[in-house]
């Protein structure tokens, strides 16, 4: 479009947008859960064309020394060059870093998962949930899609049962017995833009 602002104003006068949506309407949202079998939990979310996939891998780690009864939740948002031509390959750019920090803040502030639930043995062993979000198609509103994908993937995560053997002090994992995470709150993100 030669005059993008004028183009938009023409639609906004009729209280709708170029793709036919109302001002307060979301794009068609689809979600596909648990398709990645190598991940402990996964979800693929599409908001219109914007596609984000979240895969969660759970590993063992020593809890942090200042909070020995907590585990870790480590989110990471990746905006690879395949999602849009504006991104180059290499270390995470500014937008990816901002998105990762946003997701980390959402997890922390909403308390959707209590880090104490991730502790297996205080001071010795805890779960660390690596939440990797990869954007596959960047068509705007990435933060909403990431939050949604993260929530869906966390609800899909199944952790095996772990017990600490008293004699050897080593963990014993039973991969056959798995249980879901306790998700306490369900944060939903909505983004707005102010035009003119």
């Amino acid at each position: 479009t030669v005059e993008p602002l004028e183009y938009y104003r023409r639609f906004l006068k009729e209280n709708c947008r170029p793709d036919g949506r109302e001002l307060g309407e979301f794009r068609t949202t689809t979600i596909n859960i648990g398709s990645i079998s190598t991940a402990d939990g996964s979800a693929l979310v599409k908001l219109g064309n914007t596609t984000v996939i979240c895969g969660i891998k759970a590993e063992f780690a020593t809890p942090p020394t200042d909070t020995p009864d907590k585990g870790y939740v480590v989110p990471n948002v990746d905006l690879p060059p395949l999602c849009s031509s504006r991104f180059r390959s290499g270390p995470p750019g500014e937008e990816a870093q901002v998105a990762s920090q946003f997701i980390a803040d959402v997890i922390e502030n909403s308390q959707m998962i209590q880090k104490e639930d991730l502790c297996i043995s205080p001071g010795k062993l805890a779960w660390v949930l690596y939440c990797d979000l990869i954007c596959l198609d960047y068509d705007g509103n990435i933060l909403d899609a990431c939050t949604f994908a993260l929530l869906a993937a966390l609800k899909n995560v199944q952790l095996p049962e772990v017990s600490i053997n008293e004699e050897t002090a080593l963990a014993e994992v039973n991969l056959k017995k798995k249980s879901y995470l306790n998700i306490r709150t369900h944060p939903v993100a909505t983004s707005f833009a102010v035009f003119d």
Partner: protein, 272 residues
């Protein structure tokens, strides 16, 4: 990792729970060495890329996107003899930049995002296999960027990435001589060298040798070959290549179907 300020900090190190699990994986069941897993291929699914393709074979899921042609970054080109058919001189030909990445959740163990040497080696293998098929002389001083993302590794990842990349290039409308089809093989350890076509992840993990062949089916020319391990005598490797090439030929009709469907979809969606 400690020095990386760009990512959210996690623990210094972590171990996968599988290390502490009591039971082992079962041995992969005996199967017909020439069976190919059913393949699902779809082209033209990403809105922001010029061309894209998604390939799923058994547990392996690969997504590939192509962007460009774009002005090439470096400009140290001389002149050389002109190619046939109005193509640019050899030194001014276009370039293909390939990028291969594994999603952190794609394998048994989580891989932290900066991939390292293996991804670069596979990206180079992708580039070497795709170059013979693309008419780079028609894109002088330009570069085409191919990025492959492996979402789940269920075995034969490089072969799937090759096929997806060729489909994505075709979907982008890049001029090509032929498609490139990839096929993976692996050989289990032991005295009798039987090569298995299209190995699963378990078969690949236990393999003594692995091989990926890339074929241009219509021209019947081998575009790429990457193998390593203890394969036994030379005849065994030759046998493996032959098996791989047959596998590629069998895969070709599925890819043709996929491209035809994508073109129809594109035609239907375009405004009249």
């Amino acid at each position: 990792m400690p020095g990386d300020h760009r990512r959210i900090r996690g623990p210094e190190e972590s171990q996968p729970p599988q290390l502490y699990a009591a039971d082992e994986d079962e041995e992969p069941a005996a199967r017909d060495p020439t069976r190919l897993r059913p393949v699902y291929a779809r082209a033209g699914l990403l809105s922001q890329a010029k061309g894209s393709a998604y390939l799923e074979a058994g547990g392996t899921k690969v997504l590939c996107a192509v962007s460009g042609p774009r002005q090439a970054e470096s400009s140290e080109r001389g002149s050389g003899p002109a190619g046939t058919g109005g193509e640019a001189p050899a030194a001014l030909r276009g370039r293909l930049l390939c990028d291969f990445r594994r999603a952190p959740f794609s394998g048994r163990r989580r891989r932290a995002p900066p991939g390292g040497g293996e991804e670069r080696e596979l990206a180079l293998a992708l580039q070497e296999a795709l170059e013979p098929a693309v008419r780079l002389g028609r894109y002088p001083r330009a570069q085409l960027e191919v990025s492959a993302l492996l979402l789940e590794d269920g075995g034969s990842a490089l072969a799937a990435a090759l096929t997806a990349a060729a489909l994505a290039l075709a979907d982008a409308g890049v001029e090509m001589y032929d498609l490139v089809v990839g096929c993976g093989l692996s050989r289990a350890p032991g005295p009798a060298p039987t090569w298995l076509l299209d190995p699963t992840r378990q078969e690949e993990e236990r393999a003594a040798a692995g091989l990926t062949v890339a074929l241009m089916p219509v021209l019947n020319q081998v575009a790429g070959l990457l193998g390593s391990g203890e394969g036994g005598p030379t005849e065994s490797w030759a046998e493996a290549v032959r098996l791989g090439l047959e596998g590629c030929q069998r895969l070709y009709p599925v890819l043709q179907q996929c491209l035809v469907r994508a073109a129809r979809r594109r035609g239907a969606a375009a405004p009249p």
